[in-house]
Every structure is written in C-alpha cells, then in structure tokens.
C-alpha cells in the first residue's frame, strides 16, 4: 500500500513544475544562501548587519509599511469580499471584473498614476481642502502615508479574493439560523461569519504582507530614495554599490522574514480551519 502510494504515477505530473522551479528558482536561491553564509564576510556579515542601527531603521520601515498596507487592505477588502460573496449574477460579475481587471495594469503605471493623485494639487488634496478637513493643500506624495495608500490599492485584490473564496463556501443558512435564534446582526458577524472566514483572512494577510514587505518598484516611485526598505537596500547593494555581501545578507533577512510569515499563517489557517 505504502509502496504503491510512493509510486503513484499521478505525482509525475508535478515533475515539469518541480524541475522548472528547481532550476530557475531553487538553484539561484541556494547560490544566494551560500553566498550570504559562506561568502567573504560569512556569518559575521549578519552580525554586522544587526549591529548597525541603520539596519534596524530599514527593518522597521519594511515591517511597519507592510503591516500598515496589510491593515488597510483588510479593512477595505473584507467588506468588499462580503458583498461579493452575497451578490449574485451580474453584480457579482461586475465586482469581480472591477477587482481583477486592474491586475492587468502594470505596477509602474499604477505607481505613476498615484504620483499624480497624491500631489499637492492632486485630487486627494483638493477633496480634503474642499470638504474642509485640511486647511491648506497638502502633499501626500513622497510620504509614508502616500506609500501605504498607493501600495494598498495595488495589493487589495490579493486580500479580497482569498476571503471571498472562503466566504462563498459558507452556507448562508448558518446566518439565518443564528437570526432565528435571536442573534443580532453584529453578534452574527462576530460569532458566525468572521470565525468561518478566518482561514481566508489569514491567507490574504500572508499574500499581502509578503508582497508588501518585498515591494521594490512602488516605494522607489512613490516615496523615493529617502525611505529604504530591505528590498530597496538589496537592489541598491547589488546594482550600485556592487556590495554583493550586503545585498545577499539583506535578501536572506527579507526571505527569512517572509517565509516565517507564510509558514506561521499557513499553520494558523490550518488550525483555524480545523477548529471550524
């Protein structure tokens, strides 16, 4: 039985994908790991990286901006996913198109568009001064707030879709049953819908967080040279400073960080999925 399972011919279907990933992704990754661990500085380069206060600022920038982007995506994305799961027919199709179509527009184009929106005479500033929330025009471009707003726009589909795919599998009669038992809408949301959709939320957070922590193009266009993250520092080390040791060290730190997030969240989602 176990021998038969080991030789399951269906597994061979995965061979092309495994081979492809091993060559174009696994091998370079091994080189990178090898260089960061056994390169010129070796493990000592990690020591000097973490001993440098500037590294902690960069680490802080990376984690804080990624966490804020993830939070904004969750706050915007969850209600959208809820509406999407409840909607039917044409409305659902329209919302899905509205979410998926922007993915076909390149990140550079979107980042450039945000530059125009976030300028001092941009539409955000005009609206805020128009409704009297700001006393004078302000610029969000090249600020961390601007970065979070712009990045959240680009990553929000990756929050909506996993939550939606979980929510649409939830039996709507569960909510109705709770209602007949006298549960208020708020109680129903927090005790029924939310726990059932947790695996989707966790997946969405893992997607958005790991993408936001490693984004490169968006910060370089929306906030510029004065806000270094692990990703921009890695790029600069390799491309301009020709410091491959520092570059591979920061790349491995970023990799470890995102792998930790993905592993932790998949563990969490399995646990939460099992609990429900």
């Amino acid at each position: 039985m176990s021998a038969a399972r080991r030789l399951d011919p269906v597994l061979l279907l995965a061979a092309p994908a495994v081979l492809y990933l091993a060559i174009v992704y696994g091998l370079p990754l091994l080189f990178l790991l090898g260089r960061s661990l056994f390169g010129a500085g070796g493990l000592a380069s990690f020591g000097s990286f973490f001993a440098d206060p500037f590294s902690w600022i960069v680490l802080g920038n990376t984690l804080r901006s990624a966490a804020l982007v993830t939070l904004v995506c969750l706050v915007i994305g969850y209600p959208t996913a809820l509406v999407l799961a409840r909607a039917g027919g044409l409305v659902q199709a329209a919302i899905l198109v509205a979410i998926i179509l922007p993915l076909s527009v390149g990140v550079v184009v979107k980042a450039f568009a945000w530059q125009i929106v976030l300028r001092r005479d941009g539409i955000v500033s005009q609206i805020m001064t128009g409704i009297g929330l700001w006393s004078e025009p302000q610029r969000l471009l090249f600020t961390e707030t601007g970065l979070v707003i712009g990045a959240a726009n680009i990553f929000v589909p990756f929050m909506i879709l996993p939550i939606y795919s979980v929510l649409k599998l939830v039996d709507p009669r569960l909510g109705e049953a709770a209602a007949t038992l006298g549960a208020s809408p708020v109680y129903r949301f927090f005790k029924v819908a939310l726990p059932l959709s947790l695996p989707g939320i966790v997946t969405g957070i893992a997607f958005v967080f790991s993408m936001a922590a490693s984004m490169y193009v968006i910060p370089s266009l929306v906030i510029g040279d004065r806000f270094q993250t692990l990703a921009t520092l890695t790029g600069r080390s390799f491309l301009f400073m020709r410091n491959e040791q520092l570059g591979s060290t920061t790349a491995v730190v970023l990799l470890a960080l995102t792998v930790a997030i993905v592993v932790a969240s998949s563990w969490l989602s399995r646990r939460l999925g099992g609990a429900s």
Binding site: F54, F142, T143, E144, L221, D225, R226, F227, Q228
Partner: protein
C-alpha cells in the same frame, strides 16, 4: 542582457559576413581595394550624432569604414574584458567611472601627443590617470528651475537652501552620477575649496542636512523628477544635466537651466584607445578627431554639451566667465560606497 548583446552581435556579424562574401563573389577586384574597418564602442544614446556627424567626416578623411556599437558603459567594459588579447573594438567612449575600471584591468592604451596631437589643445583637467583617456564633450550640471513657479531665475546654488522653497527642491540620488556634485556644492557653500570638499565630505554632508526641509524628493529616475518640475510641483532641480534639461526645454517644457555663480560641474564623457586594438593608427586618429575643434564645435550644440578643446567657444547660456569644475573621479571611485552609506542615513525622511 549580455547574452542578448552577444546574440545580436553574432547575428549582425553573420549578416555582415554574408554580405561581404556576396560582394567578394560578385567583384573579385575588391580584394585588392579592401577598405579598413574601425569598430567603436559607445553609449546607445551617442548613436544619432556619431553616425550623422562623426562617421561620414571620418570615413571620408581616412578612407575607411567605421562601425559604431551603441550599448551601455558596463557592457562595453565586459566586451573588452572577454576579448582581452583578441580585441575587435578599437576605440571606446564611456563614462569616466567605468574608464577607471578599464584602466585597473589594463584594457587601455595611453594617449600621447605624438599619436593624438589635439591632446595639447585641451582644457586642463580633460585627461585622466596619465592620459589613459580624455574627455571630448561634457554635459554640464547647473540648476534647472520651473519658469512658471519662479519669476526670477536662481543665480546661486545657495537659493536651493532658501526656507521659502520648503518641499519644492529635488536633488539626484548619490547613486546617480549627476548626484555627486550635490555633495560637493554643499561643501563649497559651507566654505571649502573644491579640492578639499571632494576629499573630505563631512562639511558637505552637514550642510546637506539643512536642505532636508526643502526637499520634495531625491530622485533616482530622471524623467520622474523632470515631470514634477514641468508640472510645477517642484521649483528647482539641482544638479541638473544640460543634456537632459535643455533637451526638455527645446521640446517646449516650461523650464530652463542656469549656471550658478559658484560655477557648474562637467559630466564625464571619456574616449580611449583599447590596448591591442586592431587598426591602432586609425584608432588614435579617431580619438584625435574627436578631440579636435572641428568636430567638437559641430557636436557641442546638438548635444547641449561643453567642448574640451580650447578653441571651441562655450555654448550659449553659459557666460564666458563661468567656472567649470572638474570632478576627481578616481577619488569618487574610492569613496563613493561610504558616501552612499552616510547619505542613506543622513538624508532619510
């Protein structure tokens, strides 16, 4: 990138070879009247003016054929490294920082006044590292400003530091070649001499910190910065490259470039002969022509650059008495990484 360049090269040489073979078959007499071929490597951006102005003049005068390969400086360097001992390129036009690397690899043949007499007619500071290469045309760096936002053009680099321009100034990143003078200018404004502020940048960094409230951003992508200037979000960019700013102005953008009273900086455009080059005599002749007044006066205008030959007058827009600072690129190469590290820390938001 390299594989791509190689592939193109092979395809091109195959085509050229095929065409040559066909011509040979058609007219055997060509064997005796074979013209010499000179391969010049340079930047892709140089191609228009090299092929329209330099090549026809040179081919006619020296009865030869010039092939210009336009790519990036670092790609040219790699071509030279890979073909060491059997070079097919004879002349290379690259930025000075890359020239330094080529000298360290022993890839260049020094220029001498005997082989390139025009060396004697160059402005001081136009040759480097014992004349391993020379500068031919130099874009210059001044202050670009928005004509809609500023009624009077800036006259000094110090105006970028004026508190009334809060959030309106853009400077290039130190990782961009044109960004280096920002550091040197700050040193000059703090009261140093050009030589001293290049060696010891501490005062420059301290002065730059005072610019932070005025900074809209620090750019790495030049088009993005000029976009902001042309739309009036930014008022000034400095240092700004003549070859970019004046081209935008010529295209109708409401901006202009001025030469501040403290002087402008010359950007590096070097030319050198490759060691072990085929057609070595022609190669030196090509360099000599590029350093000559005739070609330089034809090229300075369309490329918005300064000539390095003494006989060529300064372009319009630059006063005759304006100071032109040359940058010590060997010093830059030695210190740049440390500067970038400090820059990241000191200039962060």
């Amino acid at each position: 990138m390299d594989a791509f360049a190689q592939a193109r090269l092979t395809r091109r040489s195959l085509l050229a070879g095929g065409a040559a073979a066909a011509t040979l078959v058609a007219s055997p007499s060509i064997l005796r009247a074979q013209t010499k071929e000179l391969v010049v490597g340079g930047a892709a951006g140089h191609k228009p003016w090299v092929e329209s102005t330099v090549v026809p003049m040179f081919e006619k005068k020296y009865n030869c054929k010039v092939i210009f390969e336009g790519t990036r400086s670092l790609v040219n360097l790699e071509k030279m490294q890979k073909n060491k001992g059997s070079q097919y390129m004879s002349v290379v036009q690259m930025d000075d920082p890359v020239m330094i690397l080529a000298v360290k690899e022993g890839l260049l043949d020094p220029l001498t006044p005997a082989k390139a007499p025009n060396l004697a007619n160059l402005l001081p500071g136009s040759t480097h590292m014992d004349a391993m290469w020379a500068n031919y045309l130099q874009p210059w760096l001044g202050v670009a400003y928005s004509k809609t936002a500023m009624k009077t053009p800036p006259s000094s680099w110090a105006e970028m530091f004026d508190p009334k321009y809060k959030g309106r100034i853009i400077i290039p990143s130190l990782q961009n070649t044109e960004g280096l003078p920002a550091l040197f200018v700050a040193g000059l404004l703090a009261g140093g001499t050009l030589e001293a502020v290049q060696k010891d940048t501490d005062a420059g960094f301290k002065k730059l910190a005072a610019l932070k409230p005025n900074l809209l951003t620090i750019y790495t992508q030049q088009p993005q910065a000029y976009n902001l200037l042309e739309q009036g979000e930014a008022y000034m960019i400095g240092p700004a490259m003549s070859s970019y700013a004046l081209e935008r102005k010529a295209a109708g953008a409401p901006i202009d470039l001025v030469a501040p009273k403290e002087g402008v900086f010359a950007m590096p455009s070097g030319i050198a002969v490759i060691k072990g080059a085929p057609q070595s005599e022609l190669a030196f002749a090509y360099v000599n022509e590029m350093l000559g007044a005739e070609l330089q006066s034809k090229l300075a205008g369309p490329t918005f650059s300064l000539a390095t030959n003494k006989a060529v007058p300064k372009p319009e827009g630059l006063g005759a008495d304006v100071k032109i600072h040359q940058i010590d690129w060997a010093n830059v190469a030695a210190q740049r990484n440390d500067w970038i590290k400090r820059w990241d820390r000191d200039m962060a938001i």
